[in-house]
Amino acid sequence: MINPILVVDDDPGFRKLLETILAGEGYPVETAAKVADARRLCSSHSFSLVISDLKLPDGDGLDVQKWFAEHAPKLPSSSSPASVPSPLPSMP
C-alpha cells in the first residue's frame, strides 16, 4: 500500500479533477483547500507526493512546499501556477 498523494487547491473544480485523474490511475488521494488543512492532514497521514496550487487563501504553494520540506524532508512536491496542473513527477 503506497502513501496517498495530497492535492492542495482552493478551486473545488480543479481539486476534484486532479483527484479524479489520480484516483483513475490507481493512486490514493487526499485533498485540502488551504494551507492550514494541508498541515492538519500531514499530522495524521504520510504522503508520497504533494501537488499544490500556487495561490491559496491563507498562503501560497511555496509556503506549503517550505512547510513540508521542514516537516517531511523526503517528500517530493509540485506547485502548479494559477491552478493549471503541471506534469506529475514520477512516483517514488
Binding site: D11, G13, F14, K16, L17, T20, I21, S83
Partner: protein, 355 residues
C-alpha cells in the same frame, strides 16, 4: 460658467458691429462736410490752390450756368432746386456736386473725394471687430474642446470599467472552465459512439470560451513590456510553427522589443490574414512588419472602428484581436494600421521608430 464663456464674446461681437455701423454713418457725414468746406474755399481761392492744400481731393471740375445747356443734369443747381448731390458709385468712390458763389456769379463744383480720407474714423472699431471675432472663435473652439475632452474622459472611464469587469469575469470563468475542460477530456477518453462525438463538440466549444477568456484578459491587462534586443530570426522561429504556410520575406536584423508581446501582436495579425485568404506573406525590415493576404479586404463600413474592441466580421470571433494588437503595439512605442491591398486583400503594418 460655460454659458458665460459663450455669451461674453457674443456681446463683444454685437457691440463692435453696432459701433462700426454708427461710425460708417459718421464717415459719410464727414465726407459731406469736407465737400461743403472745399466748396466754400472755392469761393475765395483759385482751384489750383485748393487742390494743393486738400489731400483728400482727387479731382475737381467746375461748371458755370452756360454749361447747363449742354448738361441737363446740372440744371437743377442753377435753378436753385438742388443744393447738394452725392454719387457714391462713381469710379473714385465719393463724388459730390456742390453749388457755390463767386463774385462773377453762381457756379457748380464736382468734387471727387478720396473715401479713404475718412478711414481714420472706422479703423479702430474695425480692429475691435476683428479682435471680437477672434475672441469669439477662440472661445467657441475652447468650448468645443472642453465638450470633446469631457466626452473622451467619460468614454475612457467607461472603457476602463469595462476592462476591469472583463478581467474579473475572465478570471472567475477561467478556473471553472479549466476544470470543466478537464472532466470533458476524461469523459471523452472513455466515451464511444455518439457520446464521443457530442463530447468532441463540447470540447470544441470549451476551446472557444477559453480563447474568449484569454482575449479578454489580454485586452484588459495593461501591457508591461520587458525590453530586450533580439534578432528577427528569433522572432521568425517563434512565429513559423503557428503559420507554416505563410511566406516570410525578411533579412535578419536586430530589434529592441518585448519578444512575447510582439509575437502575440504579429500572431493575431497572421491569424486574421490566414482566416481571410489562402496566400499570406510576412515582410519585415527595421522599423516595419507587414502582413499581407489575398482575402476580400476590409469592408468599408468597418474601417473607422477596426481597432475598437468587440468589432468583428467573423461568425466565431471575439472582436478583440485587433484591439489587443493595438494595445500591445502602442506599449512597444509603435503604431499599427490596416489598409486594403491591391488588387485584393488586406495589408496590416506594424511600424516603430528605429532611432
Amino acid at each position: 460658467m460655460a454659458g458665460l464663456l459663450l455669451v461674453l464674446p457674443l456681446v463683444l461681437l454685437v457691440n463692435a458691429l453696432l459701433m462700426l455701423r454708427e461710425l460708417e454713418q459718421a464717415r459719410g457725414a464727414f465726407l459731406r462736410n469736407k465737400a461743403a468746406e472745399i466748396a466754400a474755399r472755392l469761393e475765395q481761392l483759385p482751384i489750383q490752390q485748393v487742390t494743393e492744400e486738400e489731400p483728400a481731393l482727387l479731382d475737381v471740375r467746375t461748371y458755370g450756368p452756360s454749361d447747363s445747356a449742354a448738361e441737363p443734369s446740372i440744371r437743377p443747381f442753377f435753378n436753385g432746386q438742388e443744393l447738394f448731390r452725392l454719387e457714391e458709385s462713381s469710379p473714385s468712390g465719393f463724388r459730390a456736386w456742390v453749388p457755390y458763389h463767386t463774385p462773377a456769379g453762381a457756379r457748380l463744383a464736382r468734387l471727387d473725394l478720396n473715401p479713404k480720407a475718412a478711414d481714420f474714423l472706422t479703423a479702430r472699431p474695425r480692429q475691435n471687430l476683428y479682435l471680437s471675432i477672434a475672441v469669439a472663435l477662440m472661445m467657441g473652439a475652447l468650448m468645443a474642446y472642453a465638450v470633446w475632452a469631457r466626452e473622451k474622459q467619460a468614454r475612457l472611464a467607461r472603457l476602463a470599467e469595462l476592462g476591469q469587469m472583463s478581467a474579473v469575469l475572465a478570471h472567475e470563468i477561467r478556473n471553472p472552465l479549466g476544470a470543466l475542460k478537464g472532466f470533458l477530456q476524461l469523459a471523452q477518453e472513455r466515451a464511444t459512439g455518439d457520446t464521443r462525438i457530442w463530447l468532441d463538440t463540447s470540447l470544441e466549444q470549451t476551446g472557444r470560451l477559453e480563447q474568449l477568456v484569454k482575449d479578454l484578459l489580454a485586452y484588459a491587462r495593461a501591457p508591461q513590456p520587458k525590453w530586450r534586443v533580439i534578432s528577427w530570426r528569433e522572432m521568425e522561429i517563434r512565429l513559423r510553427p503557428h503559420a507554416p504556410l505563410v511566406a516570410f520575406h525578411a533579412a535578419d536584423f536586430q530589434l529592441r522589443t518585448d519578444p512575447d508581446m510582439l509575437e502575440q501582436a504579429v500572431l493575431n495579425l497572421l491569424r486574421n490574414a490566414i482566416e481571410a485568404g489562402d496566400q499570406v506573406s510576412l515582410h519585415a525590415e527595421p522599423g516595419l512588419i507587414r502582413v499581407t493576404d489575398n482575402g476580400p479586404g476590409i469592408p468599408p463600413e468597418l474601417r473607422p472602428k477596426l481597432f475598437q474592441p468587440f468589432v468583428t466580421t467573423k461568425a466565431q470571433g471575439t472582436g478583440l484581436g485587433l484591439a489587443i494588437v493595438r494595445n500591445l503595439v502602442r506599449a512597444l512605442n509603435g503604431n499599427v494600421q490596416l489598409t486594403n491591398a491591391r488588387p485584393t486583400g488586406a495589408c496590416a503594418e506594424i511600424r516603430w521608430s528605429t532611432k
